[in-house]
């Protein structure tokens, strides 16, 4: 049991470092295409973290929806707006705006990490058990049926809205 715990921790930290590095590259890289590809690293890292948390269905959905659909959508968006392939120096706001952004980000992180460490000091997970897909579907189709239906309507509305907005007439 202890060996498993150590292995989980090592995996967590390796994936976490990868994700943070990828996320920093997404917001700093000078190449739009590379930003989309670094985003793949972050999102697949998140899927791996979900597996570590024994949430198999969310992990699979993350891979299918984010890596399969949203990244492809981003790549289409990049290509349709004829972004410069290669480096492009005109992607960021001016220096002062970047400093303000970094300040806000750091302040936010300080606040959140203070409250998280204060609130959940060393709460442990205990023995994680696999959260089976059957339980998830039971929950969606009983307790959360109404939000699920609302979400379906939202997706339909977004589909029609996107077509109406992007259509040429």
């Amino acid at each position: 049991m202890l060996a498993l715990l150590v292995a989980q921790n090592i995996a967590f930290y390796i994936i976490a470092v990868m994700m943070v590095f990828g996320a920093i590259r997404v917001v700093t890289t000078k190449n739009v295409m590379h930003a989309a590809l670094w985003l793949v690293l972050v999102l697949s890292g998140a899927a791996a973290q979900f597996i570590l948390l024994a949430a198999e269905f969310v992990a699979i959905t993350q891979v299918l929806v984010y890596l399969g659909a949203i990244i492809v959508l981003f790549l289409f968006g990049i290509m349709l707006t004829r972004a410069k392939t290669g480096t492009d120096d005109d992607l960021d706001n001016k220096k002062s705006a970047k400093f303000i952004g970094a300040g806000i980000g750091l302040a936010l992180f300080g606040l959140m990490s203070y409250s998280l460490i204060d609130g959940f000091k060393d709460t442990e997970f205990g023995d994680l058990t696999v959260q089976r897909t059957a339980e998830v579907s039971d929950s969606i189709f009983s307790t959360y049926l109404l939000p699920f239906e609302v979400l379906s309507v939202l997706l339909l509305a977004a589909l029609i809205g996107a077509i109406v907005i992007a259509r040429r007439d």
Partner: protein
Amino acid sequence: MFLNQFLLLAAILFCIGVYGVLARKNGVLVLMSIELILNSVNINLVAFGAYWHVNDMANVTGQVFALFVIAVAAAEVGVGLALVLLIYRNRQSINIDDVDMLKG
């Protein structure tokens, strides 16, 4: 594993996403930063869900809400990219700074 290590990872990703939204002016890159933010929220939800699940086996609320967030994020990206395409078609650029007609 501590609950906090997942929450802090999500906090770091959230703050990087906030920085990206503020520092980028390319529309597509702003949308990518928003994806980072939504994804970090998902990590939080699943972590809390797993934490609850240990004590109450029938409770998978965290996962269900993470799935809802994924679906809403997909809808958001669809509409957002449609808007970016429209801006590009009208102005031949997707710099957010150029979209300033609301300024008097």
